[in-house]
Symmetry: D2
Subunit: 340 residues, 4 copies
């Protein structure tokens, strides 16, 4: 029973069928196909605005192209001190931007503290040309801690972004889980909240390999095609990526899948909240739980798979996906409830 | 009737079935799955030697990682003056290598002239630290002109490589067409001919998005995993790439598909060789033909799709793929034979 | 009366005379001149070991080449969280290394806390290829806070470096002040303490524009000449840089100049230690003092020049140089003692 | 008797005196000193227009910053196929630009053939995002062959630059020799000829280490200070660079020194033009002469120092500098006239 990562889940059947269906005869390569063209339109409908849609196969590529589009080589981008871009992409954002700097800002529950962010920015500039040009902010929604920025928190970040003339990126590797939980539109969470570009993830939520960089700000979109090609990210048979995303959007499949995943997390939370320590508020599809090392070993022996959180000995991360079966969650709950 | 590019062809049915079959339950992500593990073994069987297999989704990524592995940032790599790496990858090899130099060497029929190569290398070093360190050679097999390096030509390049202590890369975006045509083993064309690393293409020959960088030289393979991750090329659900490659290798499907494509090119050649000018020898699945602009327009009107070669007005490129139907080739031959 | 920076001080007369004396006729360019050759020998005498000496004109170039030599593009280097490399070089180390990561480690009084360093390193590796390869440590001696790593602290860092198989860089922009104060040899502070390469500064301590990267570890020195050239750091008339460094070393001029500067700091310390708050121990040629904003304005009006420390309103930095006159220090002391 | 390189010549006495004179007391560092400020004004007077003046210590830094300012990482810059930027800077322009491409254009006598340039540009764009964005042209004045672009040739390049919307850089490592020979103003040769930025050399013509990047186009100048710092090129005691350039400009010293150098080349030309083969027209301070290998050895034995041109056995380069004595030129002429 796999609670280790939504990356280990299979592909949703509807999406797989769409891939198979896209395999009819010849079609133009390198993104000039009919699927990619339609995807552009469907995304614009979804977001209710102009946007440039860049289909990709990894979230790291999306985040790193975002860094390159917003942050010049002599610039810096501010993100949460343990954001995925900072700790888990092996320097890809720095690589794509030609060596720009990622600067970590502290906070709680996986989220940038807006006071710290504002303080940091207020002190910027005193070193003149000796310091990098702060150019952008990146936030993750839902966060690496399984929490959410509320619309109000997003408004605060938007106002900071505007105060200092910065660009705003959202790492939406799990944006579907956020939207499903917040109950607002994806437009509200993104461009209406000042987001200039979004890494729109689908792979973790049921696609095979399909992410999209969505650029709302036309000023920075201009040479994205050359940048994608130069990064080795231009898929020749792109129709098979775009077809995944089209199926993902159709009839709100993306929200159905995320809702299911979120519900499994809530199921666990409600069963255990009085007996167990949850490290962070459970707002999306990830749960961080404190367990004794003995209890951890016990669970593992019973065949439950999950990550013991790096740097800790008594915190485990459980990830629920579109493919997580409720009966397995129930088994997990029972196992956790059993006295050692 | 599409003769424009093998990138526009659909996915071979057997490969598509393998993708669907790989979609059973959870599996480890980031290349630690059973398919990727098996692929490593199958490739080692195919090549008859140790090799590191790096599944990727684009040929540009494979070539550019090869550049980064062989050529330090202060180095240079020699390739044919109009190789794909030089003219069609928007600087990706330079990007991945941190700004190293690609140096074009002249030749004929899409192949480096070994005399020119040797001459160039003999003159290297006189500028000392003012010139980049020549580090590697890259050749394309089959070439961008649809021609092949013979085993004898490969031996010459091997001896030059060894004479100057360089590494040798092969861009095998269409390696299957080369092997199918040469009638020798892929080992003979690669590591037995001094190739240190190979971009092994599958996408153009029937896969959906599946390439592999095959590294025969353990000295340069060591940090390839970090380099792949940092390039945003680490596919989370990698099993779906590896499954394509496994199906591609199984029962020599890759050679069957390439043989079919090559045969279509030969069909055209034999029908038209006495009446038409073929720009290069037809040795794989690409044909370059001289036609009057009027004849070109005529063909286009009849629904034949192909590239008029950039920089010319009277040369067309025809690409034959695993999915090209012989009846369409026959129609094309008839159209070409018809007097204007 | 300038206490703002040792970079604002003039050139020491003996060094200036050496520059003028080097101007006799033609000499080979690009470092193949007799002065640079002799410098290599003199540095090896000074350090009592083999070393590669790379004359440069900026400390940032020395530090950044050190980063490039020790840290691959997919790697990271650990330094004090507000080290010069981290905060004041506009991303030059990242640039030179092709986008590698600088990771800040906390501490006190401008120095890395060795416990934090060890802790950080103990946790490295759990993310596998998703995290950068920790490759090197950099420490500043004397530090940006005007403090010193003792020989004992250096031994601790050496043992951590060896425990984790890392390289060790020392930013010695003010190494002369450290040696003059510690009363040990420069060999003891550097290669005998595990330092693999040293940015040896002279500009702040009396030279015009002369720094040297000193590489003790032959394994990383091999391609430094190409890396220097490629960085645009190969001075054509290098004899005029090397001549400065030769004069700087001759008859221990470098230590005399640093001793003078350090003594001025001590003069101030002893006069004011009972009446004023010194932020850090005064161990080299920099003093950080807490003063009321009113007192700061008063001093400025009297013509004393210094930096109010960025991020504070009541901390000033006073830098003493080879050219600081004791009578000006006395005037400063009197001004500081006067009641507002 | 040194005819090897103007880089091996000593510093002109007036310039050395200016360096010594600048050494009076404290002055602001990092380019905020009075000398650098005055230099900005003097350069604007010289050029008769607004310009941003960036003092540097190497020509490679000037050229490479120019590349970075004009050519994005996904772009390319066109230059003569054996321009210094292409062959003698160890990839520095590629490094500074983050991996952009240098593309060599053929020509004669060290100059780009404008027909070839136009042809190349006419063919650009057919590969779409698969090719780099052609962004700039760079020409060298005087050229690496000791020849000059006439004002008419510059007008042709200007019109090509404008036709394709490119930026134009001039590598003026020996611009003084060009101006002294052409007898026009430096404004006519630069911004009036469409030059957007100029590497203005002084080191080869009598300075110690002093070059300036002169940016005429304010659109590209904006972040040059951060880019300079990040490249490790921000000299802390910049007054000593600016003082050289001020002395160099004063009373047209730069033109006097270059005129002297050019005259020595003409002296040799006129004495030998009927008896010897000059490879290129002699228009500045460099002469390329064909000599038998035996004659070359003979000259070397007599103590004449020069380069035998890389790649040849019978071509020598003679460089005349501000410090070349006419009597040595006369001796050289006599030696060359003597029958073997």
């Amino acid at each position: 029973m796999n609670f280790r990562s939504d990356n280990e889940a299979p592909v949703n059947t509807t999406i797989m069928q769409a891939i198979v269906a896209a395999n009819s005869g010849f079609d133009e390569s390198y993104g000039y196909d009919s699927y990619t063209n339609k995807l552009q339109q469907e995304m614009q409908k979804l977001f209710g605005c102009w946007c440039e849609v860049v289909p990709l196969t990894t979230g790291t590529a999306a985040n790193s192209l975002a860094m390159a589009l917003t942050t010049p080589a002599y610039g810096s981008l501010l993100c949460y001190e343990s954001a995925h871009m900072m700790t888990d992409e092996c320097g890809a954002p720095e690589f794509y931007s030609g060596g720009a700097k990622l600067i970590g800002i502290g906070g709680d529950e996986g989220k940038i503290n807006t006071g710290s962010l504002d303080n940091y920015l207020a002190g910027v500039g005193v070193h003149g040309e000796h310091e990098c040009l702060v150019s952008a902010i990146s936030i993750t929604q839902s966060t690496e801690a399984g929490t959410l920025y509320s619309l109000q928190e997003l408004r605060q970040i938007k106002s900071i972004k505007e105060k200092y003339g910065l660009l705003l990126h959202m790492d939406g590797s799990r944006i579907a889980n956020a939207i499903a939980s917040l109950g607002c539109t994806v437009a509200e969470v993104t461009w209406k909240s000042g987001v200039d570009l979004l890494s729109f993830g689908a792979t973790k939520n049921g696609a095979m390999m399909a992410e999209a960089l969505i650029i709302f700000n036309p000023k920075i979109a201009k040479e994205i095609k050359r940048m994608r090609k130069r990064a080795g990210q231009l898929i020749s048979k792109m129709r098979f990526v775009s077809a995944q995303l089209l199926a993902y959007l159709k009839d709100d499949l993306w929200l159905q899948l995320a809702t299911h995943a979120n519900q499994q997390a809530q199921l666990l939370l409600h069963a255990l909240k009085s007996s167990h320590e949850f490290i962070y508020p459970v707002q999306a599809n990830e749960v961080f739980l404190r367990l004794s090392p003995k209890a951890i070993r016990q669970l593992q022996k019973q065949g439950f798979e999950f990550h013991v959180w790096p740097g800790s000995h008594d915190i485990i991360r459980l990830v629920f996906s579109h493919a997580t079966q409720s009966k397995h969650v129930v088994e997990l709950i029972e196992a956790l409830k059993k006295p050692l």
